[in-house]
Amino acid sequence: MSVTDTTDITDPAGAPRGAGPDDDGAVRSWAWHASRASALLLVVLVPLHFAVTFLRDDVGATTARSTSARLDDPTWRLLTWLTLALALVHGTIAAESAIRRRLPGGIGLALTAVLCLVAGAGLAATSWVLATHWV
């Protein structure tokens, strides 16, 4: 029997068995773990980033000076970098899986490669900006 063939309708809890990561000993990919770990951090970091960027400081009153002043704080700079890096990793993994599922074959592979390149460029740009302009 396949190790994944455990969707048992008669589970006492009324739910499929093996829904937890360790319930049935199923081996999951590193992407699954990376996505969940990043999600747990992002669920705190993204609302925090949004609140500070758009709620505390009004979007219409934001200037280069005010944003630079905020980024002068190394903690905020680190939080910004962490938020964006984790979001890129999380989003890329999810998008790669969706593309691979819907477009198997060469087109899916090409799209995945483009996606990874774009995400890598985004991460490089973020790192470059945060590391060179406020340090």
Partner: protein, 204 residues
């Protein structure tokens, strides 16, 4: 009358009624087995999976994504809909919402990166761009993005918690209600804060 030994799984099925009302009616019956009912008959394919696809556990999906890449389309909500009240608490509609929220969240991240790059290249351009963003339309877009971010995060948290604490799976409808409550309890006041600078002139 001789008693017939019924496996626990079969007894449970009888007690709970038909196990899967969504099962395709044309599914071929399992061949009779000399050793009793086949356990394969007690299993069902993941909700939404393609008939020809190999079996896949629903737990391989998260946030609408099949992590096995084997073609199953069962999303996280389908996974949790397998419990009591399945089908009435969300399902594919919620999964679609989760995907849309994820795409909007990704777009938000892309916009923040572009914003940072513009700031690094030209402070004047950055300030000019933000002055142009001071409009009701942009604030409404931001409110939509904020709603998507919140929904994506809260719904994902519900799924992670359901996996970490299996007893919570039977309370999935309650968890969904909590998600909706926290979502709007957070979003409505913050959306007002976002919109207020543009609408306060209406009350002057």
């Amino acid at each position: 009358m001789p008693s017939v030994e019924v496996p626990d799984e079969v007894a449970s099925e009888d007690a709970d009624g038909p196990p899967d009302v969504d099962a395709p009616p044309t599914a071929p019956p399992s061949p009779p087995s000399p050793v009793g009912p086949s356990t394969a008959a007690l299993r069902r394919p993941p909700v939404g999976s393609r008939p020809a696809a190999p079996a896949s556990t629903d737990d391989d999906s998260f946030a609408g994504i099949d992590w096995t890449g084997r073609g199953a389309e069962g999303g996280s909500d389908d996974h949790h809909d397998a419990g009591p009240g399945a089908g009435s608490a969300g399902g594919s509609g919620t999964r679609r919402l989760a995907v849309v929220a994820g795409v909007v969240s990704f777009a938000y991240v892309a916009w923040v990166i572009i914003d940072l790059v513009v700031l690094a290249l030209s402070g004047t351009a950055y300030t000019t761009m933000h002055e142009a963003l001071d409009s009701l339309a942009v604030r409404l877009v931001l409110c939509g993005a904020w709603l998507a971010l919140l929904f994506h995060g809260l719904d994902g948290l519900r799924i992670v918690l359901a996996d970490l604490v299996p007893p919570l799976r039977v309370r999935d409808r309650g968890a969904r209600a909590v998600v909706v409550f926290v979502l709007f309890a957070t979003w409505i006041p913050t959306a007002l804060v976002l919109l207020w600078p543009s609408v306060r002139g209406w009350f002057a």
